[in-house]
Symmetry: C2
Subunit: 178 residues, 2 copies
């Protein structure tokens, strides 16, 4: 059975800085017509990196949630940038460490219902210390957490950021083999 | 230190069916002005539910990703609906089981950088079989997976949906105690 929803028409309703929003009329496989509001996002990267057995994590005020949350270093792809380059750039900018190696843990879909966003998850096993270069509108406090502390914070729902949970899951299975 | 970004102005740039998009000018704690494009979403629910030791999961074509993906039963809050009611409604609609009990596993932030969306995660330990009532534009195939199969599919990145990974993590820690 063909499950694809065919695009009948497509209208850009907002062309923004971090995404483009379209309103698409589609034909469902059952013959029904439907409207899909789609956030077109270039995608993001998120990087797990440890110094002396502690992961460098971030405490960051998130305006959309009106809350300071704990999450792993992450960022958006620049125009034309491939995920690996973005991961290297973001780790350096946000933590001040230049990665010498990056291992792709897998990809994560944060909002498959209405967004094209894919978050590419990495683990950096080796890096050298340089300087942080935050964007002028970024206000990120670095915090240092052991795997045990992170797992406890996921389990008690202190860490709610879903890319961070996905990355820790993949790190444990792919890198630690547990 | 005050980390809050103060709203200076706010413009609705799109008022849609599943979200409202605003463009806000904000004042950062360091005195910089910045623009925040925010998806205002009512939030969602996602429910883990087992029949005979197999979780009822879904294979669903996602137009935004142009791909059929595997994920847990989930849906959006209706206007004025509280998360628990939405979770009960969505489980019945999508799987045909009316829940008799729901345990809140925790909440998940899929996209804290630009969206207000919170996904409320539940585990249903007990339900009775009734009828499925899919929305007319939904085309969902139910699949039945053991925890072991789901964990393998997360580890090999077959399951990329981040709410599903978060829910399985919380199910293991909160319900199974592992």
């Amino acid at each position: 059975m063909d499950k694809i929803e065919k695009k009948l028409s497509n209208e850009v309703v907002y062309d923004g800085k971090i995404f483009v929003l379209t309103k698409d009329d589609v034909l469902c496989p059952n013959g029904q017509k439907a409207t899909r509001e789609i956030v077109h996002h270039r995608g993001g990267v998120a990087i797990l990196f440890k110094v002396d057995d502690k992961f460098i994590f971030e405490k960051q005020y998130r305006y959309a949630l009106e809350e300071e949350i704990i999450e792993m270093p992450a960022g958006k792809l620049e125009k034309g940038e491939v995920p690996l380059e973005a991961a290297k750039r973001e780790l350096l900018e946000e933590t001040g460490y230049r990665p010498l190696e990056m291992i792709h843990l897998g990809d994560s879909y944060p909002t498959p219902g209405y967004s094209t966003e894919v978050i590419h998850l990495y683990y950096c096993p080796k890096a050298v210390k340089e300087e942080r270069h935050l964007d002028s509108d970024e206000n990120i406090e670095l915090i240092y957490l052991t795997l045990e502390e992170i797992e406890k914070m996921i389990a008690d729902n202190t860490i709610k950021d879903s890319k961070t949970v996905a990355a820790i899951y993949l790190y444990k299975s792919k890198i630690l083999g547990i």
